[in-house]
Amino acid sequence: MSQSASTMGNEKVTSSRRNFLKTAATLTVATVGYSWLKSSQILVYAAEPKDVTLPWYGIAIDIKKCIACGSCAKACKSENDVPKEPFFFRNWVEQYTVKNDGSVDIVSPNGGIDGFVQRVPDEEIFKSFFVPKMCNHCAKSPCEQVCPVGATFLSPEGVVLVDEKYCIGCRYCVQACPYGCRFIHPVKKVANKCTLCYHRLKKNLAPACMEVCPTGARMYGNLRDKNSDLVKFLKEHTTQVLRANLNTGAKLYYNELSSEVR
């Protein structure tokens, strides 16, 4: 079979090009494959089996017991390096005053840190109560769902935390939280919120807000432990979570939550 010189030349060029392409393709597949293997760690554990030897933290707040002294909100700021200005709160206390004419007056002056002064005279009040608020540490947390980089996460103990070294400050989580418990720290410039005093939990100390609450209105505990005070409290009282319709899996249970509360 005779071939002209030019076609033989073409074939040689074609075959060396083919070899080059083959090598390039192999290298690409190898790199892609390796990187995929490294990242698949994430995919493999996305269906994470929970370690049941660890506690699964929950919170209960007894509205009947709250006297709005503001100690919880104040202690939280001291413990957790939150600026004292009235724009950033990891937890706060609200006062609801339902008047006889049906209107609802809600206030939270400086988050309740300085206590409350009664503003509505007794005769106009139908009922009135205080509602302490804090991060609900949701099991199906919308803030964790929307974080684009994985800086907000649910720890194996059920505490929702923010990785301050990784957060890019996009504020998506602040928008996604239905309870308004997140803010951007003005100095650190990353998302910030109640951590259930994770650093204290690790040392077997109570969160600061619960340590100082004078009436024991705030409680925390291990939802997996049937003998814990928290679980006993949940059993003995009628509790509700905020925004149950949003299905956030909130683990903050309120006793005696009235229908006016959002």
């Binding site: 009235p86 724009f87 809600i106 919308p142 769902q145 980089v149 400050g169 939280c177 997140r182 949003l246």
Partner: protein, 398 residues
């Protein structure tokens, strides 16, 4: 910092009703308003271009390259408002290396890259390749090498190769249409999937965003075509304008229908958030919603375009009317973005109060920065039109 706190004290003094203590400061400001505006322009301009290519609307041919280059100029700038609004912009790369798969925002990096490289750049490349090769042969010096590099050194412009340019370009355009839908639809999804915010949370949000994007893109291309023709002292083909105007009219009707449907549903169903939203719409959002978006941005353009479908006036008046209509439409779509982004943050998630929004002038989050990101694409477009002039392209020989 002191100034920042002083602003917050002012806002606190002006807040109405009860807001959660952390809600005083609005999180997403003017930069997040212009981001969907810019990506909307990209998606809309691209879809107009695809009309010519895929649906063979020949009359739009003069606007084809203009639409693509406009889309590219705005797309190149699209990430910048996002990055400049982050409070840790130097960590922005994290969204590319560890995207959290459940977050719509994480998709952004990859959808953007896909659209930029596989769709827009490739389509422009296939369209211009032959011209770039010819230009690299004709020019000397730096420009010769610039065009050579841009054409990736593929210098084969035989009819067979050029036929493949067209075929591959066609495939890319077809792929590009759903890609454009995803590029802008996901922005709507970012808002629409936030169940915590009832002003945003609706399945219609991605579709509303998409249709208003198409409206803005079409209007932009119409404006750019008129301005470029004016600068080049070439006559504007009024048939092209009529054609674009017709598409603008129909898409505007669809857009208006969708937005009206969203509001009608909200009013009829009157869920728990309805009371506060009613106050929002009749109060703080009145001007931007009813006057700017509704009247100026939708109703007047609709009436004018409807009129122009039936009565074809003298050409000069028609051209002015189209120009004004495009401008009004762009104002309307910008207001829509404002109403969605800012409006959603003005009322508290307690449904019991309002905060207020003070737009700063300077700073990474301010009006000047936003204006810069909006003007930069125009500069880029001018550069691209100089580098890849559509009117100097080497025509097909068939």
């Amino acid at each position: 910092m002191e100034q920042h706190y002083q602003n917050l004290y002012d806002i606190l003094a002006h807040s109405q009703g009860y807001i959660f203590p952390n809600e005083i400061d609005l999180q997403w400001g003017i930069l997040i308003v212009i981001y969907p505006f810019i990506t909307g322009l990209v998606a809309g301009a691209f879809i107009l271009a695809s009309l010519e290519r895929v649906f063979k609307v020949k009359i739009l041919k003069p606007t084809y390259q203009i639409a693509l280059l406009t889309a590219l100029s705005f797309l190149l700038v699209a990430t910048m408002p996002l990055i400049s609004h982050l409070s840790q912009p130097q960590r922005a790369y994290e969204i590319m290396i560890t995207p959290h798969s459940s977050s719509a925002m994480a998709i952004f990096g990859f959808v953007y890259l896909w659209y930029l490289t596989v769709v827009l750049l490739l389509e422009i490349w296939f369209d211009y390749r032959k011209s770039m090769v010819v230009w690299s042969n004709e020019r000397k010096g730096v420009m010769k090498w610039v065009y050579k590099i841009l054409s990736l050194g593929v210098s084969d412009i035989s009819p067979k190769a050029v036929k493949w340019d067209r075929k591959l370009g066609y495939i890319i355009t077809v792929v590009g249409i759903p890609s454009a839908f995803i590029l802008h639809g996901y922005v709507g999804f970012i808002f629409g999937s936030i169940k915590a915010n009832p002003w945003w949370s609706t399945p219609l949000m991605p579709i509303i965003f998409l249709f208003s994007a198409m409206v803005s893109g079409i209007a932009l291309v119409m404006m750019v075509y008129m301005i470029i023709s004016y600068i080049r002292k070439k006559s504007i083909d009024v048939n092209v304008l009529d054609s674009i105007g017709k598409f603008l009219f129909f898409v505007l009707i669809l857009d208006f229908t969708l937005e009206a449907l969203d509001q009608i549903h909200r009013i009829y169903v009157a869920e728990e958030s309805f009371e506060i939203i009613k106050l929002l719409v009749s109060g703080k959002l009145y001007l931007t919603l009813f006057v700017s978006q509704g009247l100026i941005g939708t109703l007047i353009p609709l009436i004018t375009l409807a009129f122009l479908q039936f009565y074809k006036h003298q050409i000069k008046l028609r051209k002015s009317m189209y120009f004004i209509v495009s401008m009004l439409v762009l104002i309307g779509v910008y207001s829509m973005r404002w109403n969605v982004v800012i409006g959603g943050q003005l009322f508290s998630k307690s449904f019991s109060g309002f905060t207020s929004f003070k737009v700063g002038l300077i700073g990474l989050d301010g009006t000047l920065m936003a204006a810069f990101w909006l003007i930069l694409p125009i500069a880029i477009l001018s550069f691209l039109l100089w580098l890849l002039p559509p009117w100097k392209m080497v025509e097909e020989e068939d």
